[in-house]
């Protein structure tokens, strides 16, 4: 075939040749990190519009950042939720428990007790503060880093660990990847491995709640990397069109496995700013500031509950650890990023705040950490009685064929018989 003039690439006249731009993160392993370009506003400076305001009034809040806790550990400004010390301590405890749980499960994976684990280190404020700002029966469509919500809602740790070990007590019958919990009674939707699918589903749930004249709202969480999926835009469109009582959260932890946030469009605008194009209210919040997160979710939840429409919240944070136990972040990013992250550690910030207002002490904190480590250890022991992954104690073979449909059709019945026949040949000692 002859060369098409369109494809020849010959420059026309004096036009400059076009160039493809491929984003590149600022720092790679070994690089010194400089965060001075990051715009981090003083806490307490942003106005808090009425929850009934027009979506367009939130524009300044989508390009700036809502912060409450200052470097002096004081809570300031109109977004200060003014929580009582008891609530603050509960928040701190749930965050610390989430971290203790993560640490233990991470070690469990390293010890071969399960195949896989995902920590949310550095992001504990987001799930825990959101859980406390929501009603207990509001529906959550989570991604895989909101274990703090289950923990805050009092879901038994033993059940979480049973799921992670895929053992015979796993409520999900050993079918899901570890950490992909489902807890209907706790308003926690079954987690999908297909990113972003939960976003339009949350909107659908919220629409159903509105159809039924219910008072419950829905919320969903997505990573900034996943916000590039079509499902994100489907969800935003549906949420806007039907004024759905939903709060959509983008957890911007800067990294999607090894891809920095620029590959989801972060170099062009903030994630919160995307709300504007849909006519949805948007908030951008310091995700390491538990009080700011609480205040933003409370604002958005009130708005949704008042039939005033959906909100998109961007939680600006940092994924302190690897993506999962299968990931080594030192291969693609600078270690200094974590060390120098200017928004600090969410647990330390809340702890210091409580100490600053005279409601907490370093000793009490150390005691609590010890106690939580013990609590997790005891739960782990308890769960191990039901088996760990690959050590034989799992659900009966027949369960593999159940729940594909409500009733077992003939072809699955035949296949179940085959699996059981094979089992008798492969493991004659087997009893179930």
């Amino acid at each position: 075939m002859g060369e098409s003039p369109v494809r020849s690439g010959k420059p026309r006249g004096n036009l400059p040749p076009l160039e493809l731009y491929v984003p590149e993160p600022k720092y790679r392993p070994g690089d010194k990190v400089d965060y001075s370009e990051l715009d981090i506003p003083e806490p307490g400076e942003l106005a808090r519009p009425d929850e009934a305001c027009a979506a367009s009034e939130t524009w300044p809040l989508t390009t700036d950042m809502i912060r409450v806790l200052g470097d002096d550990d004081k809570a300031v400004g109109p977004w200060n939720p003014n929580l009582d010390p008891e609530s603050l301590r509960r928040m701190l405890r749930n965050m610390a428990l989430t971290r203790a749980f993560d640490d233990r499960m991470y070690r469990g994976q390293r010890q071969g007790k399960t195949s896989f684990y995902m920590k949310c280190t550095g992001e504990e404020a987001i799930s825990v503060a959101c859980a406390l700002a929501l009603a207990g029966d509001d529906m959550v469509f989570p991604s895989y880093r909101q274990q703090g919500i289950l923990i805050s809602r009092g879901y038994p740790l033993v059940d979480m660990i049973n799921q992670i070990y895929s053992n015979r007590a796993d409520r999900l019958k050993g079918r899901q990847l570890p950490i992909m919990y489902s807890a209907r009674d706790y308003g926690f939707f079954t987690i999908s491995g297909n990113l972003a699918t939960q976003f339009p589903q949350a909107v659908g749930w919220a629409m159903a709640s509105a159809i039924k004249g219910d008072t419950r709202i829905a919320t969903s969480f997505i990573g900034e990397g996943s916000s590039a999926e079509g499902d994100f835009h489907a969800a935003m469109t549906f949420a806007a069109v039907y004024n759905a009582p939903v709060v959509l959260n983008v957890v911007n932890n800067q990294w999607a496995i090894s891809s920095f946030s620029g590959f989801a469009g972060a170099e062009r605008t903030t994630f919160a700013a995307r709300a504007a194009g849909y006519g949805i209210a948007g908030l951008r919040v310091d995700g390491n500031d538990a009080l700011a997160v609480y205040a933003a979710m409370e604002w958005a939840a009130n708005r949704a509950r008042g039939n005033l429409g959906p909100t998109l919240i961007e939680h600006f944070t940092y994924r302190a650890e690897g993506h999962s136990t299968s990931d080594d972040p030192s291969a693609y990013r600078s270690a200094h990023e974590r060390e120098e992250w200017p928004l600090g550690d969410p647990i330390m910030r809340l702890r210091n705040h409580l100490i600053a207002i005279g409601e907490w002490s370093e000793d009490r904190h150390a005691d609590m950490d010890r106690e939580l480590a013990e609590e997790v250890k005891a739960a782990t022991k308890e769960a191990e009685k039901n088996g760990i992954l690959g050590h034989g104690l799992h659900h009966p073979f027949h369960t593999m064929f159940e729940d594909v449909f409500e009733e077992l059709p003939w072809h699955l019945d035949e296949q179940a018989e085959q699996a059981i026949r094979e089992r008798q040949m492969k493991w004659p000692e087997w009893k179930e």
Binding site: L172, S182, T197, K212, A218, H233, F238, V404, P409, H411
Partner: protein, 350 residues
Amino acid sequence: MLEEEAVSLHDAPTRSLNMIEAINEALDVMMARDPDVVILGEDVGYFGGVFRATAGLQGKYGKNRVFDSPINECGIIGAAVGMAAYGLRPVPEIQFADYIYPGLDQLVSEAARLRYRSAGEFVAPITVRSPFGGGIFGGQTHSQSPEALFTHVAGLKTVIPSTPHDAKGLLIAAIEDNDPVIFFEPKRIYNGPFDGYYDNPSKSWKNHAGGKVPEGYYSIPLGKARVVREGAAMTVLAYGTMIHVVEAVLAEKGVDAEIIDLRTLVPLDIETVQKSVEKTGKCLIVHEATRTSGFGAELSALVQERCFYHLEAPIERVTGFDTPYPHSLEWAYFPGPVRIGEAVDRLMKD
């Protein structure tokens, strides 16, 4: 359920309806019976759908239960999954089966597996309705038959009616079913049966037994095939539009074939299929979809596995070609009387 079907079929007065009217009635019946049934999709509300299948329902049940959606199939099916998780029974319409692909992930990865992955905590009683198949000069983007794709997915049921009577009863059963169902409507026969001779004048459901539709509620269980006609010379397995084409061809040839309308592909009524092939010893499979990896391949494998010693001739498959649906050559593509006739002759020779 069978008893209830028999009772209401016996008692209820029947009228002649076309398939659109029958589908509309099924939706109406279910919306009246169950306040959790909601309908969403492009143009389904005020206008009643481009094929008018949802006509009048918004006026009757309100915008809370029948509403238009953005042109976003991922959103339509994704939202339906969320609604089902809440406790509703959404019946989303995908305007043409060809446009199901943007929503495919929500169907295949989400709806289909919700029960399994949550060990029954969340279920997806969703019925996705969608017109499919060619023969209306719809070109390659309004003619496809993607049913095999869905039969390959664990957790989805696939239903295809071939008459107004079945369309109503099967759709009611699909909506009542607690699993996600893909309900493909053969749009070529919405308004009347089709014998495969595209230049013959259109026929009407008025003169067809399948166009007699009982009033009110009745359901036809999923997973039960219909023996359209008993016969001894061969078994023909088909569904949707092809049932009528096959009937016409066999009548013309005077072949005493047994015709089985599968009605649901998953779950499949293997018993009826097996019994028939064991009796006749010959099997012809007909579908409009492309040949390679089509549902005919699955049927052929099943028949071979189960009826091998009864077979007196190789199993024959008549299908569309492995090309997109060509607009101007639609009738060259369509597996009509000539292609079916040749296969019938081959089987009769053996």
